[in-house]
């Protein structure tokens, strides 16, 4: 059976989204078909606004409404403390903790020759350039500790060392409220290696 073209197009578009398969795409498209016009309009606008009203902060490459993001503009943040992350979603994750009051720099990924991503594809030059105009006391590398993330940390630390700023990386270890007994061995192993003096 041939599906009406507009429906087929909608299904195809939905199924391009991450973790959405053909079946889910069809369910979503039909669901929208059943909605009132106002609801659909507000949904469409929300999606459109993502592209038209949001941009990347020209300083830290976080998501932003204006030229500079709210964090870069804020006078309440500690502008001498900078946290380097992979993606804007990591900024959201760290912000939710309310534990960090410095500023950010979003790399836009990690080094991965297999996917053709090298230093020039990341906002690394931009990070170095920030040292010309801003004064940092400490730089925190909050990058995922997987193969590519670890290598990116190694790359950055070598690049940043001559700048004479304190470099740290976020600790790897046990989740809060986690029971040592039930954590997986690799996590415990890393937590032991990365122990801190008290």
């Amino acid at each position: 059976m041939k599906i009406a073209e507009p429906l087929q197009i909608a299904i195809d578009e939905f199924s391009k989204l991450p973790s959405i398969g053909k079946k889910t795409a069809q369910r979503l498209a039909i669901h929208i078909l059943k909605k009132g016009k106002d609801e659909v309009d507000s949904f469409v606008n929300a999606v459109k606004d993502l592209k038209t009203k949001l941009r990347f902060c020209s300083r830290c490459f976080n998501l932003s409404v204006g030229e500079l993001c709210e964090i870069c503009k804020s006078g309440k943040r500690d502008h001498t403390l900078i946290c380097v992350v992979e993606e804007a979603s990591d900024v959201i994750a760290i912000e939710k903790t309310n534990e960090f009051h410095g500023v950010y720099h979003v790399l836009g990924g990690v080094l991965s020759p297999l996917s053709g991503i090298g230093p020039d594809d990341l906002k690394i030059k931009e990070l170095i350039k920030r040292f010309e105009n801003e004064e940092f006391k400490e730089i925190i590398l909050a990058i995922n500790p997987d193969t590519e993330g670890e290598t990116t940390i190694l790359y950055l630390s070598k690049l940043l060392k001559p700048l004479g700023v304190k470099i740290s990386r976020i600790a790897r270890g046990l989740p809060v409220g986690g029971d040592l007994e039930f954590a997986d061995e690799a996590t415990i192993g890393r937590a032991v290696i990365g122990r801190i003096e008290i």
């Binding site: 020759p113 230093p119 193969t147 290598t151 790359y155 070598k158």
Partner: protein, 375 residues
């Protein structure tokens, strides 16, 4: 020390076994049948239960009965409590599912090592006669079953190799100088991950040596002394004091060649293990009998090493081991097996093996064209 036993097994559409149900002895289980009857298939299915992998590195779809589109292996493993394991493979989806007590487990690091398993099969001759990669696979499989951390680091190291060779390719393509910083970062990652593996393998071989000696004496009862030497970073087994420096130096020396050949030439993925009998290189000068004995000693050593380290008694699979041995040696091995606990042994004809000393605690299973009966 925890006992670990496989209580029963259910096979569906697994090679010649349309539908097979078995219960096992916690001592020796003899699986008897002609060639092609489906004996090894039973061992293969037990290996699936413990590792979610095929033990002859064949593909999953080969294990399906002809004309069917899925297979299923189920079994109960008893430690202090019983675990029900189920492996289901669907040909149409080309997907395999692993369940422990009805809970799906998807990461191999969460499966491997939970139920340690040791296999002794005719393909083991590649361990003493084959390539360095065969020996690394043997050693890595022991270490991975003994330590999840090792397995995670090994997977991370392999990923690093993939990324690094991909970068070497890009460097050759673009011929750009500035990417050297990038290569340096991957070198650091390679060294970090590589040093971990080397250190663990070094420590392992030190412990493992005595297990090999013990097993060898048990089988041979002669004065021959076996030895295992770990050769890393082109050391040929010689002592290296500063491993990190050696690693860095070699990387420097080989840099141009690596770039030219687009290949990772330095690191533990090039390691080898040398087996000696009375200080003579087995690979070069060993007789057929010595090779065979060494292979068997290595597997028994693996068994007792894993037993001591994990505190669990591994399941022992022996495929067609007695066929090519003289009766005196075979008798020794059969006596040795009594110390193991539960084992699964395939033989073509029990009449040839009167020395096996089978008693009523053992189970004899006859297999004929995928149909089983108890003797």
């Amino acid at each position: 020390m925890d006992r670990m036993n496989l209580l029963n097994l259910h096979l569906k559409n697994f090679r010649r076994h349309k539908e097979t149900n078995l219960t096992f002895s916690n001592k020796l289980n003899f699986i008897v049948g002609a060639n092609g009857a489906g004996k090894t298939t039973i061992l293969e299915s037990i290996y699936y239960l413990c590792t979610n992998k095929n033990f002859n590195t064949r593909t999953d779809n080969e294990a399906i009965s002809f004309g069917e589109d899925n297979f299923e292996v189920e079994g109960t493993i008893k430690e202090l409590t019983e675990s029900k394991i189920r492996v289901y493979y669907s040909l149409t989806e080309n997907k395999k599912f692993y369940f422990r007590n009805k809970k799906k487990i998807s990461r191999s690091v969460d499966i491997i090592g939970s139920f340690p398993i040791v296999t002794l099969t005719p393909t083991d001759l590649s361990i003493t006669k084959g390539f360095p990669s065969d020996r690394r696979k043997f050693i890595d499989s022991i270490l991975s079953q003994a330590s999840k951390t090792y397995l995670i680091n090994l997977l991370d190291y392999n990923r690093t190799l993939k990324q690094r060779s991909s970068l070497l390719f890009l460097l050759k393509e673009n011929n750009s100088e500035k990417s050297n910083d990038e290569l340096e970062a991957w070198n650091e990652k390679l060294i970090q991950g590589g040093l971990y593996l080397i250190e663990k393998r070094q420590r392992f071989i030190n412990d493992f040596k005595t297990f090999v000696e013990d097993s060898y004496i048990e089988i041979m009862e002669s004065k021959e002394t076996p030895e295992v030497i770990y050769s890393f970073l082109e050391s040929d087994g010689k002592k290296t004091n500063n491993i990190e420096k050696k690693f860095r130096d070699l990387l420097k020396i080989k840099e141009d060649e690596e770039k030219r050949r687009i290949a990772n030439l330095v690191g533990p993925h090039k390691d080898d293990f040398i087996f000696l009998i009375d200080n003579v290189d087995l690979k070069k000068y060993g007789s057929q009998g010595q090779h065979k004995t060494f292979q068997i000693a290595l597997r028994f050593a693996e068994f007792f090493y894993l037993k001591q380290l994990t505190g669990k008694t591994p399941i022992f699979l022996l495929d067609d081991v007695f066929g090519k041995l003289d009766s005196k040696r075979a008798q020794k091995i059969s006596n040795y097996l009594r110390k193991v606990g539960q084992a699964f042994i395939t033989v073509t004809d029990l009449a040839d093996f009167s020395f096996l000393d089978i008693n009523n605690e053992d189970t004899i299973i006859k297999v004929n064209e995928g149909v089983v009966e108890y003797a």
